[in-house]
């Protein structure tokens, strides 16, 4: 009886129903917003599901259990009925489970279109919807609706139903948003202005797609300067996420709440198993033996690098001048030099391993990124250059005289020359050695040590060979007055190295720091000059050392303020690298050229001059609409460090070209020729 009365009330209060079905635990009614529709024109249908009191129905994603309503339409002619729009759902906890649904009547809105011909819009429906209290009862119903096709007439009696249904829908959102999946964690970032987030006290995100989050998990909201972030747990083994879309509900300080349709950009972040387990696949797969071989060859090539060669020449020169030495002495020096290099490499590797363990994003050559280190190296270069120029004689230790002492000094000097060669060599290592180092840095400690030992051996090999083979020693030019000239000549590459280091230093710091460094250099020269006046007098020598120490302290104490690097200045078409920006450019199907560089990387600078910034390349960029992105690795940057690691590199340079529409880049070689970039662009243009 009560049911009949209720239905009777429903009948009178609502407009003319197109169809109605009464099932065991609920009823379903269909209305249209028109009493008569024009042929081929759109209109709306409303399906109202009214469950028994205390029973509930489900949203389009029902959550842990349950089922969303299913409507199977058979339509006359070319009429259409679209997917229903759902009112904002609620959380319905049920023991350990959570469902998404409604605990009262709901009205779904369906877009429809009348057939282009005929006299009526006819649709027969097989509907299935689930109604649950604790137990669930599927509700099934088959019904047919009919609406005359003719002049358009609005059903004014139904307008209230449609109005109410529309106001129950989530609002469209004008905020940008990202849904980031990181293993078991999921976070929704909604970008809002600070005044919009001020009043938000809580929020909840209802995902439309399965597998996005654990429905029963708490969602924690945090307000960030960019907006809000909702974090939730994602169950292990959840189905793959198809879309990030869903409904965001927000509760404000005044108790009001609002719901928004969100379609966030879905970002899936691959989680590395452990810190030492770098992503395995993209790292060039080379075996340990390949790595050892490359390390050895790379070390050999290093001998020819401009930043190493002067020091090695210096050593060669020392060998020539030491022709009077015994073979045993020479061999000793050769090994001292090798050990010097090896120990320096091991020291750097140890530091790298410590930093790697600490999770700091550093690349090979990282020492040159420390302004203090750069400053000290500049200082050292000037001192070495001045010595070569003949201002004074460098003695790596206490000055002494006598044959036997000279021999000892030679061994010690060789050792320190090895140290020097290794320290200066590291920035040059990266371009040649990137795959081996990239490989090594993702490997167990033992493998890293082996690879780097061979790198050191390669660097030391020519001189080790020289120290062993009398034949080689005999090829060497005879000592003579020319040696002084050669020595003086070798000062100039040193001065140039110092100049380059000064350039790097000033780019990293600024004018004030530059002044400090120049003052320190002059201080060192002054100290040397004082030292020369000493002639064995202790107080003056102490003064000289004090001045030198003060000069060094001037740099080490870092009395300057380091500026924040603003990348991407200068060239017209450059965009500063950011992963987000790159993704959005790729989403737009744009071709993108990304280059990673650093001020201290000579290879990078040469590549840029002859290839990247060459007019032919720039023209090719312009013609193809290629966006050029620059990643500046001069100062450490975790984001770029991650990109380098992903491509199996420990340092710059790295050149990536994404052809239009591609998601995966073409990786260019580390040494570019004038046509390297243009030829890549042309080969991909036609594909």
């Amino acid at each position: 009886m009560a049911v009949c009365l209720a239905l009777g009330w429903v009948g009178t209060a609502q407009a003319k129903q197109l169809g109605e079905a009464v099932a065991s635990h609920s009823s379903l009614a269909i209305e249209a917003d028109m009493t008569s529709v024009e042929a081929g024109q759109p209109f709306w249908l409303a399906i109202t599901i009214t469950p028994r009191p205390n029973w509930h129905g489900y949203w389009k994603n029902p959550g842990d259990s349950g089922a969303s309503p299913a409507f199977d339409w058979r339509l006359g002619g070319d009429a259409t009925i679209g997917e229903p729009l759902y009112p904002t759902p609620r959380r319905l906890p049920l023991g350990p489970l959570v469902n998404y649904g409604y605990d009262g009547p709901i009205t779904l809105l369906l877009p429809a279109r009348a057939p282009s011909g005929g006299t009526s819009f006819t649709a027969s429906l097989e509907a299935e919807w689930l109604i649950c209290e604790v137990e669930c009862v599927p509700q099934l119903s088959d019904l047919t609706i009919e609406l005359p096709v003719g002049p358009a007439r609005v059903d004014t009696a139904a307008s209230k139903i449609f109005q109410e249904a529309r106001s129950a829908l989530p609002d469209p959102s004008y905020w940008g948003s990202d849904l980031t999946v990181r293993g078991d964690d999921i976070s929704l970032a909604v970008y809002m202005a600070p005044e919009e987030t001020a009043d938000i006290v809580s929020g909840y995100f209802f995902p439309e797609s399965v597998g996005v989050l654990d429905y029963a998990s708490e969602q924690t909201i945090s307000v960030t300067p960019e907006g809000i972030t909702l974090a939730a747990h994602r169950p292990a083994g959840a189905p793959d996420i198809q879309s990030g879309a869903g409904v965001l509900t927000l509760v404000y300080a005044d108790g009001q709440s609002a719901a928004f349709d969100m379609d966030p950009m879905l970002k899936v972040v691959t989680v590395e198993e452990t810190a030492s387990d770098a992503p395995a696949a993209p790292v060039p797969t080379i075996s340990i033996w390949d790595a050892v071989f490359f390390a050895l060859v790379g070390g050999l090539i290093l001998n020819l690098m401009p930043c190493v060669f002067p020091i090695l020449s210096l050593k060669a020169f020392a060998f020539v001048s030491a022709n009077y030495k015994t073979a045993a002495n020479r061999r000793k020096e050769g090994w001292a030099y090798t050990v010097g290099i090896w120990i320096s490499f091991m020291a750097i590797v140890a530091a790298l391993l410590v930093l790697r363990a600490g999770g700091t994003a550093v690349g090979w050559g990282f020492q040159l990124q420390e302004p203090v280190f750069v400053g000290l190296m500049a200082l050292l270069m000037v001192v070495v250059a001045l010595s070569l120029s003949g201002m004074f004689n460098i003695q790596f230790g206490i000055e002494g005289a006598g044959q036997s002492l000279a021999a000892r000094e030679g061994v010690r000097g060789a050792f320190f020359k090895g140290v020097l060669a290794a320290l200066v060599a590291t920035p040059c290592t990266a371009p040649f050695m990137a795959p081996a180092i990239g490989f090594a840095l993702t490997q167990p400690v033992l493998v890293v040590l082996i690879v780097f030992s061979f790198l050191a051996l390669g660097l030391a090999l020519p001189f080790l060979a020289l120290s062993y083979s009398p034949a080689l020693a005999r090829i060497m030019p005879r000592p003579g007055p020319w040696m002084e000239k050669v020595k003086e000549g070798l000062a100039f590459p040193m001065y140039l190295t110092a100049a380059w280091l000064l350039y790097v230093f000033t780019r990293e710091t600024g004018a004030v720091a530059m002044l400090v460094l120049l003052a320190a250099i002059i201080g060192i020269v002054f100290a040397i000059w004082i030292g020369k006046q000493a002639a064995g007098r202790m107080p003056i020598r102490v003064l000289a050392w004090a001045v030198a120490a003060f000069a060094v302290y001037g740099i080490v104490s870092k009395p300057w303020v380091e500026p924040v690097h603003t990348p991407g200045e200068g060239y017209v078409e450059e965009v500063a690298y950011s992963g987000e920006r790159l993704t959005s450019l790729l989403d737009d199907g744009k071709p993108v050229f990304v280059y990673f560089t650093a001020d201290w990387c000579i290879t990078c600078k040469v590549n840029e001059r002859i290839a990247v910034l060459a007019s032919a390349t720039q023209q090719a960029f312009r013609e193809t609409g290629t966006v050029v992105m620059k990643g500046d690795w001069t100062n450490r940057n975790a984001e770029i460090g991650a990109v380098l690691a992903r491509h199996g590199r420990a340092g710059v340079p790295l050149y990536l070209y994404y052809p239009a529409g591609a998601r995966e880049p073409v990786v260019l070689p580390e040494i570019l020729g004038p046509g390297s970039i243009t030829s890549i662009i042309t080969t991909h243009k036609d594909n």
């Binding site: 089922a67 969303s68 299935e128 137990e135 169950p235 083994g237």
Partner: protein
């Protein structure tokens, strides 16, 4: 009757608690459950044979769709004939929908003509919670090495209508066929549908 009740209350679940529920590609959580016969069964003792777990509740309309149509029995038969051990699990709590005692459970098996190998009674819901079972029906396919290979719905038609079975993709059959062929199982995780497990 009392004896059976006592047996059920004695039902022990010894399982290494997994931090974060089951996931395809990871070892399936181990459990010990009580069969209707009163015997104990431990999942890890079945190592060497693939195992299918089926959460069920005979009063759930979605389960009924699969049993009254014969779809579940056909699926059980297909897998068990090929050497899969099929374990049906009832996690309904006493007094809740789908809760049965051993005697009634056995009767149900006979009347429905099931092809499962074992029926585990889990009235405390411990096994259900261990696996994060959310609905009936819900399936978990475990390979001979004890690694979970598929979890989720039995098919891709979340409906209680028998007519929905026509043209449906049976995920349980598909996952088994792919496992047998040594192929990658796709999908290996789906959202299960049906009645909530009545914990």
């Amino acid at each position: 009757m009392r004896l059976i009740f006592a047996i059920i209350t004695l039902l022990g679940v010894s399982a290494a608690s997994l931090a974060d529920g089951p996931a395809p590609g990871k070892p399936a959580p181990d459990f010990t459950g009580m069969l209707t016969s009163g015997k104990r069964i431990t999942l890890s003792d079945l190592r060497g044979k693939p195992v299918m777990l089926e959460w069920t509740n005979h009063e759930c309309p979605y389960v009924r769709k699969h049993y009254s149509s014969g779809n579940m029995q056909r699926t059980q038969r297909a897998l068990t004939e090929e050497g899969v051990t099929w374990i049906s699990i009832i996690s309904s709590a006493p007094g809740k929908q789908g809760y049965v005692e051993a005697e009634e459970a056995e009767k149900l098996s006979v009347s429905r003509g099931t092809y499962n190998d074992m029926l585990v009674l889990d009235p405390s819901g411990e096994i259900g919670r261990l696996y994060g079972a959310k609905t009936t029906p819900q399936m978990f396919l475990i390979d001979a090495d004890g690694v979970l290979q598929y979890m989720g719905a039995i098919d891709d038609r979340p409906s209680s209508r028998e007519s929905s079975l026509e043209g449906a993709t049976n995920h349980a059959l598909q996952a088994w066929a792919q496992l047998k062929a040594g192929e990658a199982i796709t999908p290996n995780s789906t959202q299960p549908y049906g009645c909530s497990v009545k914990y």
